[in-house]
């Protein structure tokens, strides 16, 4: 990787949406919008509500399906010279595997991020990511058909994220990314109704960062595969917290909405911090908390 900064799925489209603002090849990796075996229309509007220091969304994995992706979107992005990673979601282990197998055929897509943690779909999604058995089952079925780098994205909406991470590692994951959004809810008090169309949504933004850092720290103590940290990262300072907690790369999500150039700024800021602290690479600070 050129640098440890990637974009979080669902916040950066397919990358090309941001090409007017930033040189995509200066980003360490781009994790594109969640892709499913079959097309999905997603949930009804309203899908988003702002909160103090963050937002909730319930987009619901709107996408045109993996076949459309392979035929129409992949040709547009395959020559972007950075790690183009596809986020794969599904409603059954078979769906996940079939979708992953199709992405496996695509040259220049070095990895997938398996989303077993989306809080906004009724079937599948987070349902698999909240039990060790469910998580392991999906990862195993994908591992059989997918031979490139398999990153599994974990949900914070669990009692012990470390247990889930361990189960995923044992099932064959090459890395884990965490956290997906925290399930939340906002109520319109005049209408006495939830603001979002499906009542609940996934919370993101700086408000969730301490939860994410805690999760990374706990998972780092439990597993020996690399960790990609995300959740509310707005600047290089935030990113360094994740490295110290045990992440060896990070993803930037909601911050892209506030500043479409934030990724390259964070990458630069990380280097400046490393230089100022006499470090040559991020690896020197991963998990290096003083006891």
């Amino acid at each position: 990787m050129k640098n440890p900064v990637m974009t979080a799925s669902g916040t950066f489209g397919y990358g090309v949406e941001f090409s007017d603002f930033v040189d995509l090849e200066e980003i360490g990796g781009i994790i594109v919008k969640g892709t499913t075996l079959h097309p999905r229309e997603g949930n009804d509007y309203p899908r988003m509500v702002e909160t103090a220091s963050g937002m909730l969304n319930c987009v619901g994995l709107q996408n045109k399906g993996v076949d459309y992706f392979c035929e129409h979107i992949y040709p547009e992005i395959k020559d972007i010279r950075t790690n183009m990673i596809v986020n794969v979601s599904g409603s059954s282990p078979e769906d996940y595997a079939e979708c992953a197998a199709k992405v496996n055929e695509l040259e220049g897509i070095p990895a997938i991020e398996l989303n077993i943690s989306c809080p906004n779909v009724k079937q599948g999604g987070m349902a698999f990511g909240v039990t060790t058995e469910g998580a392991a089952m999906v990862v195993k079925s994908v591992r059989k058909v997918y031979d490139k780098t398999l990153i599994v994205k974990l949900s914070p909406n669990v009692t012990s994220i470390a247990d889930i991470a361990l189960a995923v590692q044992d099932a064959g994951a090459d890395a884990v990314s965490l956290i997906n959004t925290l399930m939340g809810m906002v109520i319109d008090i005049e209408k006495r109704k939830p603001v979002l169309s499906i009542a609940t949504g996934g919370m993101s933004g700086p408000a969730v960062k301490p939860v994410a850092v805690r999760c990374v720290w706990q998972v780092a103590k439990a597993v020996n595969i690399p960790i990609v940290g995300l959740g509310g990262i707005m600047n290089a300072h935030d990113a360094i917290e994740f490295f110290l907690a045990g992440a060896s790369a990070i993803e930037i999500g909601t911050a892209n909405f506030i500043d479409p150039t934030v990724t390259v700024k964070v990458a630069k800021g990380i280097n400046e911090w490393l230089d100022a602290h006499g470090c040559h690479s991020v690896n020197e600070i991963v998990g290096q908390l003083n006891a």
Binding site: G10, T11, F12, G13, E17, F18, F21, K33, E41, G42, D44, Y45, P46, R47, M48, V49, E50, T51, A52, S53, G54, M55, N57, V59, Q62, G205, P206, T254, N256, F257, I258, D259, P260
Partner: protein, 251 residues
């Protein structure tokens, strides 16, 4: 961009005139900006604001903003000389001129009149014949009337009858007296729906400008979707202006 002038045309509104050392990029009338609100910790996301007017000679971009929540109230506190961080121009604007002399009815309500000023000016410059039909609650709520009148004829309805004809825009007698080649609308959704009904009934092409809640403004987050005949599409990227035949409104 730098704040060059701040005006308060009404107790609920602020008009910001912005400028920059760099020449403004090409903007199509009906496009919008995403404004970062500084100094308001609870305003996390940028605020999408339609472009009210572009003055090329003075290199000015105008934003007419209604003070609705904390973010827009904060924007109303900006002072001359302060700077504002904008991402623009975003989205697809109103239709370009299709034929010389075409008569285009521009219907606006509330703060929805904002993009029509720039669009009306454009239509006039390109040889079309814009006509404004503007609705408000009361005489005092009508915005930028003098500026609209400089461009084209202005017809007005007010709910209390204090100016123009009493009632809603769709009740104005101009609609039964005159014919238009097409209609563009921006305002509250019930108003746009009733204008769309009128357009359907009279077989007049009609486009509307939507303002669904947005996060990114770039078509990446898929939050601001509108149901269309092609499925859910982003208002920020595919819109904000849509032909009414693309929408699934009950008209």
């Amino acid at each position: 961009m730098r704040v060059k002038a701040v005006e308060y045309p009404h107790e609920w509104y602020v008009l910001l005139k912005l400028t920059d050392e760099e020449p403004l990029p090409e903007c199509v009338p009906g496009q919008f900006v995403e404004v970062k609100v500084e100094g308001s910790p609870r305003t996390f996301l940028r605020r999408p604001i339609s472009i009210n007017y572009v003055d090329r000679e003075k290199n000015e971009l105008w934003l007419l903003i209604k003070k609705v929540g904390e973010g827009t109230h904060k924007l109303a506190e900006l002072k001359v000389g302060e700077t504002l961080n904008l991402v623009f121009p975003l989205g697809n604007g109103f239709s370009l001129v299709q034929k010389q002399g075409e008569r285009v009815l521009l219907v606006g309500g509330g703060v929805g009149v904002a993009p029509l000023l720039d669009y009306g000016k454009y239509l006039k410059e390109k040889g079309a014949e814009p006509v404004f039909l503007l609705g408000a609650r009361s005489k005092n709520d009508l915005l930028e009337q003098e500026l609209f009148k400089e461009i084209a004829p202005v017809y007005v309805t007010t709910e209390d009858g204090s100016e123009g004809e009493k009632g809603f825009v769709t009740q104005h007698t101009i609609l039964s007296r005159e014919k238009f080649d097409r209609i563009s609308v921006c305002g509250p959704k019930p108003m746009m729906v009733s204008v769309a009904r009128y357009a359907k009934a009279t077989n007049t092409p009609c486009e509307v400008s939507l303002e669904n809640m947005m996060a990114c403004g770039l078509g990446a987050c898929l939050c601001c979707v509108e149901k269309t005949v092609k499925g859910n599409v982003c208002v920020c990227k595919e819109g904000p202006v849509f032909d009414i035949n693309e929408l699934t409104w009950d008209v």
